[in-house]
């Protein structure tokens, strides 16, 4: 979790202050984020899903394929200077499926039948990743269209109107998960 947070923080810091580096836009840094964060998220899900040895084999096969597609898109398809919407669609789609599986596993496969799922940090984390991915799937998938056609809501670009809320939800989820982890370890 810590490497993902460090990567998030670094990306947001550079992505917000991209003008300092005299770049035309900040797409490169977000594209790099997609490339670098994908293996970290996939590794995190592999832990959360508690896979068997055979399942792990299939999972890592699919994960490598996903990363190859993201890299192909970054270098050859859309390129680093354009926002990698295809990669984003793939990653958010994978996040939705994997977080749903992880939540289902927590609910059905948990050993302790009396455990309250809302107090489980893994549930908090996956739930927020799921909600964030559902919001960003369409919004970031249509990112270029929104910018080019200047699609606004209340005189604000749609992207800038919704993304801060989605980010706030995601980071609140992370914070809750950390808090619950801390409560559990102190117990």
């Amino acid at each position: 979790m810590i490497p993902i947070l460090v990567l998030d923080l670094g990306t947001e810091l550079i992505g917000t202050n991209w003008r300092i580096f005299h770049w035309k836009n900040n797409y490169l840094i977000y594209n790099l984020y997609l490339v670098l964060s994908t293996p970290l998220f996939l590794y995190l899900f592999s832990i959360l899903l508690a896979l068997t040895r055979q399942q792990k084999r299939y999972y890592f096969g699919a994960a490598i394929l996903l990363e190859v597609l993201v890299l192909y898109n970054f270098f050859f398809q859309q390129g680093p200077s354009e926002f990698n919407t295809y990669s984003n669609l793939l990653i958010q789609g994978a996040n939705i499926i994997l977080s749903c599986l992880a939540i289902a596993r927590l609910a059905i496969g948990g050993r302790d039948e009396e455990a309250i799922i809302l107090q489980d940090p893994r549930f908090c984390l996956n739930a927020m990743i799921l909600l964030f991915s559902l919001v960003t799937l369409i919004l970031l998938g249509l990112q270029k269209y929104i910018v080019v056609h200047d699609i606004e809501i209340r005189h604000k670009v749609l992207y800038f109107a919704i993304m801060p809320i989605a980010n706030a939800v995601l980071y609140t989820g992370y914070s809750c998960a950390f808090l619950l982890c801390r409560m559990q370890t102190s117990k």
Binding site: I103, A107, L130, L142
Partner: protein, 262 residues
Amino acid sequence: MPDANQQITSTIIAGTLILLFFGVLFLAMIVYYNYRRRQTAQEKKAMKAMFDQQLMQARLEVQEQAFTHISEEIHDNVGQLLSLAKMQLSSVEDSALVDQEILSSARENVARAIRELRNLSRSLHTGHISALGIRQAAEEEGQRITRAGQLLVSVTSEGSERDITEDKQLILFRIIQECLQNCVKHAGATNVNIGFTWYPDQLRVRVRDDGKGFDPEVTLRGPAKGLGLQNIRNRARLTGGSGIISSKPGEGTTVTVMMPYE
């Protein structure tokens, strides 16, 4: 009529909201499923506890019946035989052929055996315990063990005594007996105190010995799994209360039973 951009905006927002709705619905269903699962697990646990309690009660009833039967047998059969033997010994006392000292000693031994058996018979009999009341029955049991010479048992009581149901008195008495037996068999104790504290809503019985003590965790993991200790706890639970066993090697053992009157 809305322009193209407005239509696109509405479609994007609607699509996002629908996806979000399904996501939230999925999460809500998971939380509800977890709630139902917990409820079922709790119900299952409560049913198991009730079943265990009924099983324990049935076992205790069988045990009490056996005790009563043994008590009656001692009183009606073995006791009668010993009384007869005592009379027979008395009748040959005047004979010049018999060594008077041995005869007198034999008669004393038989008389003592009769007394001990009578006491044992009483301590096993359910009716006797409820007739005496728990504190007095414990005192009598303490005296019986003290007379045997292995332990010095004292009984203390604080607060005003309250009425307890027959069943609870019996269970409590069996717990005290189990504790005293443990003191004799395992603890190597010389002094035992049975303390009754009568609180307004519950009774606390504390059996404290000065024996060699033990590590309860180790005993419960051992081959016998601390059956006696588990019995004490289970019996205490049966009264609606709790049983706490605290001991450390070299520091004696204290068994505390908290039992509500209602």
